[in-house]
């Protein structure tokens, strides 16, 4: 099926997200606007206005009731998905680089930027899932990252841990109740920025993408690196697909970082790797700038990518995608069937 092009943003996309049912895609961009789209036909169903600066991040709660956003205007905001009503604004001294709900939607974390005398922090708020409710001003947790600037973070299974990725290529594991640092691991090359962290559906493992041109899967409880996917371009994003054992990686050299700027040399493709064997199995072209974010449909039926070129491209997977199996996978399936 041909991809659907969502052209409503005027500047580079920074994050795209499916809601849990996969029927809506939320996108944020440097153009200050949050957009919501129907994933099946690309029709825009709404926009959320209010932010006064570039947007870096968006997340939707597990019931598709509340939307969280954060950006360069130093605010984190909570919106009602259905009406577009702004429910809450939290102010900070620096910009918000990442927001993420816990699996139950009862907690929301924000990663604040390190700048001009302010260390990077991870803040957590208890969320009342009722859109009519008054949301709290009080942080239930505030982690100050003194060693290295955090760039991304999220909640593990049962919100036991907060896992954060950092500017220096390390990943930290924090006790999500006490904020105590439990463990720090050099998951990526030293001093290579971690650009993305996305969870497996059950949040027992996650994938990180880095400027070191690799994406890696690590276990949430041990931080052991289980898989490494090696590419030839700096990565901005990595996603784990449900249903099939694949990962999707996105990146590319920004035009200002290379002397030659053709799309070919920029490597503006979504790359598919087999999750377990860590071998590349395919690429999808389309964007004419780096891919800033890739997101997978929660039911595994497609994916979308947000590009530096200002477009979101929505892809629905075809039959060959689902049929593809390595011989040893076929064997395994056969053995299972015989049991």
């Amino acid at each position: 099926m041909r991809p659907i092009l969502l052209s409503g943003h005027e500047r580079a996309l920074t994050q795209v997200k499916y809601n849990p049912d996969g029927d809506i895609i939320f996108s944020v961009s440097k153009d200050h606007v949050v957009c919501a789209w129907f994933s099946h036909n690309g029709e825009r169903l709404g926009t959320y206005h209010g932010h006064q600066g570039a947007l870096w991040t968006v997340d939707v709660d597990p019931t598709s009731t509340l939307l969280a956003t954060g950006g360069a205007d130093n605010t984190m905001r909570l919106w009602e998905v259905k009406t577009g009503k702004l429910l809450k604004t939290w102010d900070f001294p620096t910009s918000i680089k990442r927001v993420e709900f816990s699996a139950d939607g009862r907690q929301l974390l924000g990663v604040t930027e390190k700048r001009s005398g302010h260390l990077g922090t991870i803040v957590v708020y208890e969320i009342d899932p009722d859109p009519e409710a008054e949301q709290t001003d009080e942080q239930s947790l505030r982690i100050v990252c003194e060693d290295s600037k955090p760039t991304v973070a999220g909640f593990s299974y049962l919100a036991h841990y907060i896992i954060s990725g950092h500017e220096d290529g390390t990943v930290s594991q924090w006790d999500a109740k006490s904020g105590e640092l439990l463990y720090n691991a050099q998951v990526h090359e030293p001093d290579m920025l971690i650009t993305d962290l996305q969870w497996a559906p059950d949040r027992t493992y996650f994938i990180t993408a880095s400027k070191d041109k690799t994406a890696r899967i690590s276990a949430a409880d041990s931080l052991e690196v289980l898989k490494t996917y090696t590419t030839d371009t700096p990565l901005n994003s990595a996603a784990i697909t449900p249903v099939k054992e694949y990962v999707i990686l996105g990146g590319g050299q920004a035009a200002m970082d290379v002397t030659t700027t053709s799309a070919r040399q920029g490597k503006f493709e979504a790359r598919f790797y087999h999750k377990i064997f860590a071998e590349e199995i395919g690429r999808v072209r389309g964007h004419f700038g780096p891919l800033n974010y890739v997101a997978v449909h929660p039911q595994g039926t497609g994916y979308c990518s947000g590009g530096e070129d200002g477009y979101v491209r929505v892809h629905h997977f075809d039959k060959p995608y689902f049929d593809f199996l390595y011989e040893v996978e076929r064997e395994q399936a056969q053995e299972q069937a015989n049991l």
């Binding site: 559906p201 059950d202 064997e331």
Partner: protein
């Protein structure tokens, strides 16, 4: 002879994949057991909060 070498190489690749697959599946199984012990309902439902309809469907089974 080249063909024989190639076959040996292919065999080694397939053996390695078989091992990777077994390791992965065993680790996944241990994670699912851990989530079951912890009562991680949302996580075991693929990250979705189970709806009452889902629960109803389970009872019918």
């Amino acid at each position: 002879q080249d063909q024989a070498k190639k076959n040996t190489a292919d065999k080694a690749v397939i053996e390695a994949r078989r091992r990777l697959l077994q390791e992965w599946l065993a680790w996944r199984e241990s994670m699912v057991r851990m989530l079951e012990e912890e009562g991680a309902v949302i996580e075991l439902n693929g990250g979705k909060i189970p709806s009452e309809e889902d629960e109803g469907a389970e009872e019918i089974e």
